[in-house]
Amino acid sequence: MSDNTILSLKNVTKRYPGVVALDKLSFELCEGEVHAIIGENGAGKSTLIKCLSGAITPEEGTIEIGGKSYQGMTPKLSREYGIEVVYQELNLIDGLTVAENVCFGTEYGKIVNYKLLIEKTQKVFQDLQVNINPKKFVYQLSTAQQQLVEIAKAVSKEVRILVLDEPTAPLTLNEVAILFDLIRELKKRKVSIIYISHRMDEIFEITDRVTIMRDGQYITTLKTEETNKQELIKYMVGRELKDIYPTRSGGTKKPMLELINVTGCGDKNISLHVNQGEIVGLAGLVGAGRTELARMVFGADKMESGVIKLEGKEVVINSPKQAIKNGIGLIPEDRKRQGCLLDFGIDWNIALTHLPEISNYMFVDAKKIKEQGKEYIDKLRIKTPYIDQLVRNLSGGNQQKVVLARTLITNSKVIIFDEPTRGIDVGARAEIYNLLKELAEDGKAILMISSDMEELLGMSDRIYALSEGKLKGEISREEFSQVELLRMMSIE
């Protein structure tokens, strides 16, 4: 392209058994630009990153960097050219201090010189205007702070190309703003940034150019200021996508779930209710205590005080088992670690909770498991070639559906969704929304925790906002506004 191109991929191809992850992909990065790469899940973004970091070697094509052409990078080579990747899963060491993590891998003498490390880290933090105590241990930090540390760590190594893979996924709006300041700061220093994200708003706010990928192929590169959301989505899915939020009729006035002064796990005196057939949003920043509230209602964590009522009757819930018996379901945010059993088949995952009920004298009715597995795969449109496919091999959206199927099979009346669309691509998102709508129409009461403002406003009948463990307010559909919601979520 232009003279200041610092990285150029030409016709890069990488095959995995059964899939072409990258299909003759070409890509150019200029010095000092923020370049977004977007595409649905499975478009090949992660494979592209791995090629850059040297984790894998492409089978065909060349990577040109620093005036030289390579068949593939190696981790060492990648580092020499100043390529640093901040992965979605953070790579910090919990039991070490922030300073040790930031300086990890650099020389710091035979005996650890903490003073030097802390000074070094403080300097990096000062430059980036990050406000974290370097003496703290990583496990004491919030996810957002950990993310900032990870970026600081990359920057401290004379980075020239910084790759951010979904950096804002665990961040709240305030923290995103901090991250963006940091990115702008880096841009001033001529660092090139590859920015991978599912969030459209961010792309328009921070990036200069956008490259769209689909099915491992390069689709096009656009100047961010010359395009719009609709166009990007069109390129991503290869078809026009209309408004992805279904129109809904709204719920009844019959309270299904009522919380009265629920206290515990950092939450104080939270009272709210969800009616039958209603979708109620739960807004708040990360750390506001939303997931904690959900886990207490579901019996996963202990409630200190307060009352939970179901259909007007007080219930005592001390374990997830009791919650499920009472008709409460939880679809956790972390599907891989808290939702599914990755090494069990889809059918067994779906049957897990009510296995004892479909057993004769302890012996499981394998035929019944297959039947109901098939039933729910059809019902929830789970995409899979086999009923007994290991859940490990499913996409995030389909894993989510498996957990949902399990919840439905136990006749849940109240279903709590924790970040239902996190990490799920645009096409699959619309499907999840339709499912939510259908569930509400079936008379379920749905409590939806979400950090996606659009999603909250698009799906909810009412929204409660939490901040620092306290209920800050409630707004109904008629009064919905992003400004009002943001005001309630913010920390005083």
Partner: protein
């Protein structure tokens, strides 16, 4: 290439078994005889029974280091009941099984309540059981068991030794329990991902403790078989059992972090270890060189376990 790997993955244990069988058939002339092979089965029957129990614990991501002295303690109790107090044989066996369940439940209780890794909890109970067994028996060995009792370990039905029949029945029960009942599936679920299992509405603590109790009963059956076969009871009757159970479980594909593996592979693994010992003995190698060989086998099995895990992550 992929299919070759799949076949290797699926039948690796049979391949190892055949390799060991062929090797010793050539290296030790008296190895491949009906008498010797039956002998291996008989000698290892108690280990197989105990290993089925330990496999359940290990699949649920637990561990049991106390198995050797569970066998020892139950054996001592059998010795006292049958040779000193002259309690009827069926009652004695019943008491032995109940004691086995109790020892198991104690293991489970500590493992769950103390919230430490079961490996540590059962290391403590190992010492406790060992101590009790030696104190109770005064470090003595009991002989002169009634003939009806010894029949359990030494008798035949037709041409098949009773201890082998007991072993086969145990294998079948273990297989059905782990693969066909919800209890078994929950054990696998626990090993796969305890938090996901708990959020799925499983009472994970109860399942874990029950797994320890069931394992305790299997171990007690193993103790009955061993005591009856040797016709003697003592605290140190099975000091090597723990190593064999553990190695066989790992060799049989049960991951260190729980989950995976199946009973049949674990059973075959016990036989591999048994053949290894027997074959080396026939070659005139000492018991200590057998230790070296078995240790190497364990290291190899752990390395293979890690390799497979890494391959799985790569695929995902």
């Amino acid at each position: 290439m992929i299919s070759v790997r799949r076949i290797l993955e699926k039948y690796y244990i049979l391949i190892v078994l055949l390799a060991v069988l062929i090797f010793f058939s050539i290296a030790a002339p008296r190895f491949f005889t009906l008498l010797n092979l039956t002998n291996i089965l008989v000698q290892n029957s108690y280990l197989i029974i105990a290993t089925i129990g330990i496999a359940m614990i290990m699949i649920s991501s637990g561990a049991d280091l106390s198995v050797s002295y569970q066998i020892g303690l139950v054996s001592v109790i059998l010795g006292k009941l049958l040779t000193i107090w002259h309690v009827p044989v069926p009652v004695s066996i019943l008491i032995a099984l109940v004691v086995g369940g109790l020892l198991g439940s104690l293991n489970g209780f500590f493992a769950v309540k103390l919230k430490v890794h079961p490996m540590v909890a059962t290391m403590a109970t190992m010492t406790i059981y060992q101590g009790i067994a030696y104190v109770a028996s005064n470090s003595e060995t009991y002989f002169d068991f009634p003939a009806t009792f010894k029949f359990v370990g030494q008798g035949y039905i037709g041409i098949i030794p009773i201890c082998v029949i007991l072993m086969i029945v145990s294998v079948i029960i273990g297989y059905l329990l782990l693969n066909k009942t919800y209890f078994g599936r929950y054990i696998y679920a626990l090993g796969g991902n305890e938090e996901a299992a708990r959020l799925g509405g499983i009472n994970t603590k109860a399942i874990r403790i029950i797994a320890f109790i069931v394992a305790g009963v299997f171990v007690a059956i193993a103790s009955v078989v061993l005591t009856a076969r040797t016709g003697s009871a003592s605290a140190g009757i099975a000091v090597d059992a723990m190593f064999t159970c553990f190695t066989a479980c790992v060799l049989g594909g049960i991951s260190f972090s729980g989950g995976g593996g199946n009973v049949l592979n674990v059973v075959l693994s016990v036989l591999i270890l048994g053949m290894l010992g027997n074959g080396m003995q026939l070659m005139g190698l000492s018991i200590y060189s057998q230790y070296v060989a078995k240790g190497i086998l364990l290291v190899g099995a752990i390395a293979y376990d890690n390799y497979q895990k890494a391959a799985k992550i790569k695929e995902a």
